[in-house]
Amino acid sequence: MDEKRFRTYCITGDGELQEGQIWEAAMFIPNKKINNLTWIIDRNNIQIDGNTEDVMPLENLREKLESFNWYVIEIDGHNIEEIINSCNMAKSVTQRPTVVIAHTIPGKGVKFMEYKFEWHGKPPNKDQARESLKDLRSLAGKIESI
């Protein structure tokens, strides 16, 4: 509106894509040519009640977003280089807003948490926390940690 040249980043989860408001916005942004916006979706496939595809499937997410006129990039959300590259690429796409689907593993780096939707919304107890930190600091036992 003021024709300011900043770039806006919007980060959402994936479960919340089941909300109607998301699709109102997904329709609005390309329609109003808000092309200086980058939307990053943390696609970890879990939500509180289970796996997204069991609770209320989001796939084919890429096709859905493309049909809403978004430029879609899919990356490994744990790879910092890919994250940076995708954000840079988004800046060069001037005809459409860009959405980055960042595929991630929930609980990554903590063996007993990985892929488990049960950990979506609860904290570990003291012992579990100690074990989690040990896992994270040793890259799941691959290196020695202090």
């Binding site: 509106m1 003021d2 408001q21 109102e24 329709m27 609005f28 109003k32």
Partner: protein
Amino acid sequence: MLNNQLNLNTEIFIPGPEKKSGRDSFGEALLSLGENNPNIVVLGADLMESTRINYFADKFPKRAIQMGIAEQNMIGVAVGLSLEKKIPFAVSHAVFNPSNNWAQIRMGVALSNANVKIVGTHSGFSNGKDGGVAEPFEDISLMRVLPNFTVIEPIDGVQVVKAAKMSASLYGPFYIRISKESTPLITTEDTPFEYGKALVLKEGKDITIVSSGPITYEALLASRELKLKYNIEAEVIASPFIKPLDKETIISSIRKTGKVISLEEHQIEGGLGGALAEVIVEEYPVRMMRLGIKGVFGESGSYEELKDKYGLSGHNIVNKVVTFLKV
């Protein structure tokens, strides 16, 4: 006699009083606000002509956003604009806005105390021709419960203009409820309109009638008939501010009369009647009767027909007051 301190429209009781639709007044007010303040922006949801924000949008197309039928996203975008120091007016029919987007209003506007102005038009019976589905009787309850919000239901077109201007000049969330119907102009340019203040339109000693919105005109008609036919002197208080409610003016009237009636084009639960009951019970308990919509939905009909059928016309109010005072 009307309170001569308030510069009210003295020709209000002459048959065929001057009328104006709240939405027309609002459209004009917004246009004039836009001319004076470049930060005013407007959002509509496929009802821009119907709510008269097209007056603004036609003149300032870059500051008007057509959201489509997407009231939730309308609030999201309005909050974003307010963070950029804009003064967004998110406008649609009160039956959709607020209600389709109440969670977004609660979280985005109220919780963050964002400078967003929400305007719901076609209030109460004023959309009667579209039937029960289109008649909002719940919006004040929905908005009154939210922290940080100011809730206003102007009693006529003149107050609509003042409420719109006030909301633009004061920081914080506002909800303004506006009628589609052409209703009598009770006040004038020179009538006071202060934040959180009620107006004693007509003094009386026997009973207090507190009202918000254009239905206030029926309270005035009733008070005139009560005096002429029954020698009952009803004090009529217009309370466009439902939140904050003007406790001082209302309680001091009730101390004098000892009895109170609320009148609104809205469910009596949680609306003006609810707000008044809460205050009275805590501060000065007296007998009370709430007039308004009593736990039902509306139906198709003209404004006049529906007011009459649901017992909110002047003559209905007279009968209810007489019965109330006999008990």
